[in-house]
């Protein structure tokens, strides 16, 4: 008789059933309707285990089998509302052994540059599979070098599998989630390609991969943009939004001034000394895309601004201690300069600093918003 279970899951079911039996439970594997209580009528659990103390529904799943988690949610919901019953989920998967020899050296930056040219030549010759595989290996080297360069990884633990390192790039803020998903996609494509499965490849797919390599290694047409943004170290959503609008409207917005001379755009701010030069409107458009993807998490700018302004209430407090100039500062609870707990008067939750400042006036006449967390309310 064909079984719906993989070998691993079948083995696990028998192991768990044995465990519960040894603990005094009455155990039924794939129980029929005579053994199932009424509330499980529409479900087929893998195991039910019954005792005087409690009753358990146990589902065993693995990544090899297709799991309908929505069905499991329905099952969990019903069990939650049924007295003396609980739900246990067992995940079982074979161990994967992945290892990289510790004595191997990563290719250097010059070699990476040469390989990018080789990849582009292969694309021009329409040799797309070879180009992709070469680009992939170059990408792995770029990721490892980037993490070493930023002192986020040592030469020893840089030999971890590349999927681990890609997620590290995200966790350390070097790439955004959209780029991480692209890299995961490339990884899956690479596996299919090298294991002999049919694949369909386009030049644009490879160019996207090469762009990511260039971004990681400080090459490419937008390397000056990435460097300027990195020095700028944007923080608040108002700064991000102001920069975006300043470039989009070629105007002075907030802390940023953008002007145009002979097709080139120049962006200035007193946050950093260097002026950013954008070669033409096309590069300006690419910079706006970088800001949207890397700083707005892919949201449209107006939506990004509205979301951060209004959608989440923040708690505010006022500092019991006055500034040297006499005002008591109002701070949001996520402020870097939040006073120590003993110096705070809790004001409540508000969606704007203006409301918090109004409330602070119940305590002190002379109040002002903190420059860092409540800049709109900072008047001094």
């Amino acid at each position: 008789m064909e079984t719906k279970y993989t070998q691993g899951v079948e083995r696990k079911i028998k192991e768990i059933a044995r465990e519960y039996k040894n603990n005094g439970y009455e155990v039924y594997i794939e129980p029929d309707s005579t053994k199932k209580p009424g509330f499980l009528k529409f479900f087929q659990p893998d195991i039910i285990a019954l005792s005087k103390k409690d009753n358990v529904v146990i589902e065993i799943k693995s990544s090899e089998s297709k799991t309908d988690f929505k069905e499991l949610e329905k099952l969990a919901n019903i069990i939650k509302t049924t007295k003396h019953w609980r739900f246990e989920l067992v995940i079982t998967n074979p161990r994967n052994k992945i290892s990289i020899k510790s004595d191997q050296q990563i290719i250097d930056s010059n070699t990476i540059g040469n390989r990018i040219n080789d990849c582009l030549n292969l694309v021009r010759e329409n040799n797309l599979e070879a180009s992709f595989l070469l680009a992939w290996s170059t990408l792995e080297a770029s990721i490892r070098l980037k993490l070493i360069d930023l002192n986020l990884k040592s030469e020893t633990n840089i030999k971890r599998p590349v999927l681990h390192l890609m997620k590290s790039l995200y966790s350390f803020g070097i790439i955004n989630q959209s780029t991480l998903r692209k890299l995961e996609n490339f990884d899956q494509f690479r596996n299919k390609l090298i294991h002999g499965f049919e694949t369909r490849l386009s030049k644009d797919y490879i160019y996207t991969l090469i762009e990511i390599i260039e971004m990681l290694t400080g090459r490419g047409d937008n390397s000056n943009v990435y460097e300027w943004l990195s020095n700028l170290d944007l923080e608040g959503f108002e700064e991000i939004y102001s920069l975006y609008r300043s470039i989009a409207e070629i105007d002075d917005i907030g802390l940023f001034k953008t002007n145009k001379k002979n097709d080139k755009l120049y962006v200035n701010t007193n946050i950093v000394e260097d002026e950013l030069e954008l070669k033409n409107e096309y590069q300006a458009k690419e910079m706006l895309e970088i800001i949207e993807n890397d700083y707005m998490d892919g949201m449209d700018p107006e939506g990004f601004y509205r979301f951060h302004r209004a959608s989440v209430m923040k708690s505010y407090c006022v500092n019991k201690n006055a500034q040297a100039t006499g005002e008591h500062e109002v701070h949001a609870f996520d402020c870097e300069y939040l006073p120590n707990p003993e110096n705070r008067i809790y004001l409540g939750s508000f969606n704007t600093c203006q409301k918090a400042v109004e409330k602070a006036k119940d305590h002190y006449e002379n109040v002002d918003g903190c420059y860092y967390c409540s800049r709109e309310c900072h008047t001094r």
């Binding site: 988690f69 939650k80 079982t92 599998p161 790039l169």
Partner: protein, 134 residues
């Protein structure tokens, strides 16, 4: 109202991240997901709480040291008034394609699995002082 649980998409962002804007966006996202599970009229508690953070990941996890602080900060003024109220925090990693048992599996965890990508599950409970040191 406790325990309060919510999930959000992984991987987590590390406190070590040098990108301040991304850290802020991440905290805003965590705060948004936490707010979404709270009932209308919920006010941040002034009691001591415990937090359990579990990162469910596929195949490889990435570097996940220092993931607690940003999540704790994000919940200031949402679940509790100040993160000095957090009496105990646990941070765990579980491989989605690994082997383990989840006892009393919650709907939120199942929702996380059904999304098919890495996710972080956060549970906040009132702190109970058992006067035992573990």
């Amino acid at each position: 109202m406790f325990p309060i649980e919510f999930i959000f998409e992984g991987p987590p962002v590390s406190l070590q991240s040098t990108n301040r804007a991304r850290k802020l966006n991440y905290k805003a996202m965590v705060a948004r997901e936490a707010s979404a599970v709270l009932p209308d009229g919920f006010t941040p508690t002034t009691d001591e709480v415990t937090i359990k953070i579990t990162y469910y990941y596929e195949t490889q996890s990435g570097d996940v040291d220092n993931i607690i602080k940003l999540i704790q900060d994000a919940l200031n003024g949402i679940i509790y008034v100040d993160d000095s109220q957090v009496a105990d925090t646990r941070s765990l990693r579980k491989k989605i394609d690994g082997s383990y048992t989840i006892r009393n599996v919650s709907l939120k965890i199942l929702e996380g699995f059904s999304r098919g990508t890495d996710f972080i599950h956060v549970t906040i409970n009132r702190f109970v002082n058992t006067q035992e040191l573990n």
